[in-house]
């Protein structure tokens, strides 16, 4: 299936360049676009078949997905609004991946970041909005950062597997959030949906002028670019990649691996915590269980689809933001359950992982050195 899809993409889109030097130089980059692209096409085809079995027309499905994600200015804005937290939660998986760690607890760091940011805003009621906003950013990032540092520290000092511990911490974070919003931090006025008090309209971060897209998108873009520079253009990033490639070599050349792990985990968690802060300060205005909307889990998929590259995360997050933005339209027009977005995400994930087997095996790219 995947191979066929790969071939059809080759035939349709990317024509092999005549200059052999071109392939040698850019063969690897072409692979990094071609193979995930083919996996995406394959996943969409399988999902179309699944929908056809369900009795709906797959062509309608593709049309509404495109229309709901990128068809109008309105849907573009919806897509970009959803892409913002996805960029940040994807960084929570992609940064530790440079060290060879699989962290899947972005959702937990998001929730803790949201709680910390809300607490900061509520504590600073009456201060100038800019002060409150900066405090929320700092609190959200520290809260989320410490949450993932916990996983990193357990891995480094106790040998606890970070994948499992970070996921367990998601459930613990959710329990803490539910406990606080139904108990100590509850706004007595919130009856049906237990929530904290509102952070105040003046303290919301608002939209980018001329759009309905909130400033969180800019936060996400800046974070992704900063992460890219950190990993590929600084000594710190180089050290992290060395340690990720061969931990023994890293120790021999005198790198302090423990410090690297803790720092990277803190940065990863703080970006997911920032996503939580944005969801509070730009969308919800308060903390409640609505925040556990699954951005943390979709972020894992974004990171894997982008092959853990911070810059590639941006377009992939927009793509998956688009898929989730089109969910509402699929529900209304085609009568599909809201979980169809989850199913498609799952299928994409499976295809992307299976496509890992294709690297270095595509015929016309084989000649490269």
């Amino acid at each position: 299936m995947t191979t066929e899809a790969a071939e059809s993409v080759e035939a349709a889109g990317v024509a092999p360049a005549a200059d052999p030097g071109f392939l040698q130089r850019y063969g690897a980059s072409i692979e990094y676009i071609l193979i995930p692209g083919a996996a995406l096409v394959g996943a969409l085809a399988v999902f179309g078949g699944f929908i056809a079995l369900y009795g709906k027309n797959p062509l309608d499905l593709y049309f509404y997905m495109y229309y709901g994600a990128f068809g109008t200015w309105f849907s573009w804005q919806n897509t970009l609004t959803r892409a913002a937290p996805l960029i940040l939660t994807a960084l929570c998986t992609a940064l530790p991946a440079q060290l060879g760690m699989v962290i899947i607890g972005g959702e937990g760091a998001l929730l803790i970041g949201a709680l910390s940011a809300t607490s900061a805003a509520l504590a600073l009621q009456g201060a100038a909005p800019i002060v409150v906003q900066i405090a929320m950013v700092i609190a959200g990032m520290i809260g989320g950062g410490l949450w993932i540092t916990l996983s990193g520290g357990l891995r480094q000092y106790r040998g606890v597997n970070e994948t499992i511990s970070s996921l367990l911490l998601v459930y613990i974070a959710l329990a803490i959030l539910n406990h606080l919003v139904e108990g100590p931090m509850r706004d007595p006025a919130s009856l049906n949906k237990p929530s904290t008090r509102e952070i105040g309209a003046a303290n919301m971060i608002g939209s980018i002028p001329g759009t309905d897209v909130h400033w969180g998108l800019v936060f996400g873009l800046v974070a992704a670019v900063a992460a890219y520079i950190l990993i590929y253009h600084t000594t710190f990033g180089f050290a992290a990649r060395v340690a990720g490639g061969n931990i023994r070599a890293a120790k021999i050349v005198g790198l302090s691996v423990g410090k690297l792990i803790l720092t990277v985990c803190f940065l990863a968690g703080s970006s997911a915590g920032l996503a939580g802060m944005i969801e509070v300060a730009a969308v919800q205005g308060r903390t409640n269980a609505n925040l556990a909307a699954g951005y943390g889990f979709t972020g894992i998929l974004v990171a894997f689809l982008a092959r853990q590259n911070p810059l590639a995360i941006i377009p992939v997050a927009i793509l998956l933001g688009g898929i989730s933005a089109s969910g509402g339209l699929l529900q209304r027009r085609l009568g599909l359950p809201d979980a169809s977005v989850l199913v498609l995400q799952g299928i994409i994930f499976v295809f992307v992982l299976a496509s890992d087997a294709l690297y270095g095996r595509i015929g016309f790219l084989k000649g490269r050195s």
Binding site: Y157, N161, T163, L168, Y171, I176, L344, G346, F349, A354
Partner: protein
């Protein structure tokens, strides 16, 4: 009648009853994962398998009026998910942990999608055996209404312990888990052994899911499983890949999970959510205590990616 006289004794009693009721899914998932991990592969997707199992069991039980057919359907669904996991993992350069995460998302998504029409109707539920006929205390009788699946799970644990030690089948799985090269040298296909081990693991996890929807809590909804699957996977590490220890650990976790509802029943409601997080906190605490950065865990299959 005995409600007042029992007083605070209701809490340990409810925890005891809960340990039996709540532990069953933990038990099935951890025994299944134990088989898979012993063959040298880790399947984190059992969380998704559990939810899929719960959904398909409820659906089939509703359509056929036979809960046991539902249990079978859940097992088959789980085995198919196991086959999918093993199939993708057998491709070169594919990481089994990542595939597990993908199947976790796919399984939950698919179950929510297909299970949408099942939220309203009531399906036939699994029967319970009344072991409490000899007394009149309602709480004790409730605690002693035990499901057959629990007894089956309890029976599987020693059976598995014995099979790993003495049967040819158990030896093959352990060989594949300890040294893929050795298994290959003996002329066996490691991929095939792992495929079978993952399918059997998925089968058991699916049955664990059927318990959730057909006995306790005994209905289908999207909040049915919140991490029981992944907790059970962690539990296997704590149990040192020993089926008998999986049994005791499952009972302990079931008791921990029953603590929140038990305290709520005697009127202690503050911190309800925190008590509900007890199994996760317990898992984490146990992993912190039992793991060590300096040595690999005793009993760990050498081929397992999670311990290397």
């Amino acid at each position: 009648m005995a409600d007042a006289s029992l007083g605070l004794w209701t809490v340990p009693l409810a925890v005891f009853g809960g340990a039996i009721r709540v532990s069953t899914p933990f038990l099935f998932v951890s025994l299944g994962e134990c088989i898979t991990e012993r063959s040298g592969r880790i399947n984190l997707g059992l969380e998704g398998t559990l939810v899929m199992g719960a959904m398909s069991a409820y659906g089939i039980s509703y359509l056929s009026d036979s809960p046991w057919l539902g249990v079978l359907a859940a097992g088959i669904t789980g085995a198919l998910f196991g086959a999918l996991h093993a199939g993708i993992c057998s491709l070169p350069r594919v990481n089994d942990i990542a595939v597990g995460i993908a199947l976790m998302l796919l399984g939950t998504g698919l179950a929510f999608f297909l299970g949408k029409p099942l939220i309203e109707p009531t399906a036939a539920r699994l029967p319970a055996i009344d072991f409490g006929w000899w007394n009149d205390i309602p709480q004790l009788r409730a605690a002693l209404r035990i499901n057959v699946l629990f007894l089956i799970g309890v029976a599987i644990a020693p059976l598995l312990y014995w099979a790993f030690r003495t049967t040819r089948w158990g030896l093959l799985i352990r060989t594949a888990g300890e040294s893929a090269d050795a298994a290959r040298a003996m002329g066996h296909s490691v991929l095939l052994i792992r495929l079978r081990a993952t399918m059997v693991g998925g089968f058991l996890a699916g049955i664990g899911g059927s318990f959730l929807s057909l006995f306790y809590p005994g209905s289908w909804n999207e909040g049915l499983s919140s991490g029981q699957g992944i907790t059970a996977v962690a539990l296997v590490i704590f149990a040192r890949w020993d089926p008998m220890l999986c049994l005791w650990a499952s009972l302990a976790f079931g008791g921990a999970a029953a603590l929140g509802p038990a305290l709520q029943s005697v009127g202690i409601t503050s911190g309800y959510h925190l008590f509900n997080a007890a199994p996760y906190i317990l898992t984490l605490a146990i992993m912190i205590i039992t793991c060590s950065p300096k040595r690999t865990l005793t009993g760990a299959p050498a081929e397992l990616s999670i311990t290397r």
